[in-house]
């Protein structure tokens, strides 16, 4: 029973994967039978029950539209660079002498002409800048209050400044895990952005930073929400990674934080 239920969604995932390969790897888009795939998606729509399955179905349709666009581009490319079998061109490239390839390229190559010299105006500007530039010593003293001899800094001071970490980092990490578990108590999972969103921008960045460690150490799981720029975070018992881990950069900027926090700012 469960096997029968799983089948339609696997087909949807297969379509998304194939379309993604066409988009990213430049495979022939005509290898995808768009009409057949759409018919298939239409036929099995009633079998898709959950929200996630329906989102994947929409994503598959979206990916198929991208394949149709890739087919159009493919055709116009063939029309512009008169179509020749790639295998034949490869054969020619392997068989023709190096000199013939060079001669052909020289006929088709018109390099850019540019001058990599400094203009008279820029030179005058540069001399003027040099004349106005104060010696390094006096410029540095403005910021540091003059030259100071080297000294020692206490370990506690380094910890206070956050330059080195001690056991408090792990305590913070435990606290973040507790918070995550608390947030997921009712629904079992929580949206990434709602979890990291804090009262201030600094707090938001700190929560994202702590969460990244929880994910890396295997205490939480991250799943992409289809068609949205968000993820579902689920806490779990620590899992040792069997496959090589992947990096997932998620950028956080001030504007985004302001939107998340409903337009309020810390300043």
């Amino acid at each position: 029973m469960s096997k029968r239920k799983r089948r339609p969604i696997e087909k949807v995932r297969r379509i998304i994967h194939t379309c993604r390969m066409v988009e990213e790897r430049g495979l022939n888009p005509f290898n995808v039978e768009v009409r057949e795939e759409l018919k298939m998606l239409d036929g099995q729509l009633d079998d898709l029950k959950s929200y996630e399955e329906l989102c994947l179905d929409v994503e598959a349709v979206n990916m198929l539209t991208k394949v149709v666009k890739a087919q159009k581009d493919w055709l116009s490319e063939e029309a512009s660079v008169f179509y020749t079998d790639p295998a034949f061109i490869e054969y020619k490239l392997r068989k023709i002498p190096t000199k013939a390839i060079v001669d052909a390229f020289m006929m088709a190559w018109k390099p850019i002409a540019c001058v990599e010299e400094i203009s008279k105006e820029k030179l005058v500007e540069a001399i003027d800048y040099w004349n106005r530039l104060k010696p390094l010593k006096s410029r540095w003293s403005k910021f540091t209050g003059g030259h100071k001899p080297g000294g020692y800094i206490e370990l506690e001071e380094l910890k206070r400044q956050g330059l080195i970490i001690d056991e408090t980092f792990y305590k913070d990490l435990e606290r973040a895990l507790d918070e995550l578990r608390e947030a997921c108590k009712t629904r079992g999972s929580v949206s990434y952005w709602s979890f990291i969103s804090g009262k201030s921008f600094e707090e938001t960045v700190r929560r994202a930073y702590m969460l990244s460690f929880l994910l890396t150490y295997g205490y939480a799981e991250l799943k992409k929400i289809p068609l949205r720029e968000d993820y579902i975070v689920t806490p779990r018992e620590r899992v040792e990674a069997k496959t090589p881990s992947e990096s997932l950069p998620i950028s956080i900027d001030y504007e985004r934080w302001r939107k998340l926090s409903g337009g309020e700012s810390s300043d």
Binding site: G26, K95, I101, A108, W109, K110, C114
Partner: protein, 191 residues
């Protein structure tokens, strides 16, 4: 008096245009960014709304010394403000010119084969595939060095998943249709 006035006006206009053409030459020839060339909106800001007319006059002037103004539009973009303008040579160079400007003949051959191979594969190849093709004629170290050089110079572009595409410089400098045509017409070593 009228005749004299209009004569002065024409002279003034010519002088203004001459200054604009000179300015356009400076803008296009002196490298300002990492990638050569100047965007349409930059030229419009520097030369005024009729910058295309200025470029037309500059092009006819450059023709006398074997150069030309070339425009490259990004894919699927019609807005000229976003196009990039640059000066390229008008007539093909000979091998001697290229080698004297720092290109080795085997590097040119590798570049030609790389560009032609990528065009034939609809603009995208796996780096491994290209390496395999080039290693047919060149040693492995040379292939790796050359591909890195072509990427650095903007002839090839590194995409995710180990994919290589044509870089901005290849799009500007190489007549793709002509290159494929000439390669197809070349005689193979056996014949």
């Amino acid at each position: 008096m009228n005749v004299g006035g209009s004569y002065l006006e024409v002279n003034l206009l010519t002088e203004v245009m001459r200054i604009k053409v000179r300015r356009a030459t400076q803008l296009l020839l002196f490298q300002r960014h990492r990638e050569p060339g100047v965007k349409g909106w930059e030229l419009k800001r520097a030369l005024g709304k009729n910058y295309l007319k200025v470029l037309e006059i500059l092009d006819s002037e450059l023709e006398k010394i074997g150069l030309q103004v070339k425009m490259v539009k990004p894919k699927d973009v019609e807005d000229l403000d976003k196009a990039r303008f640059m000066i390229t040579v008008r007539e093909p160079l000979n091998v001697g010119d290229a080698t004297s400007s720092g290109w080795r003949i085997d590097e040119i051959a590798a570049l030609a084969a790389s560009v032609a191979f990528i065009i034939s594969k609809h603009g995208k190849v796996q780096r491994r595939e290209l390496e395999e093709l080039l290693e047919d004629k060149f040693p492995k170290w040379f292939v790796e060095y050359s591909i890195s050089k072509f990427i650095g110079r903007g002839y090839l572009k590194r995409e995710s998943g180990g994919v290589l595409t044509l870089g901005w410089r290849a799009e500007v400098e190489v007549d793709k249709k002509l290159l494929l045509n000439l390669i197809l017409r070349s005689k193979t070593e056996q014949s």
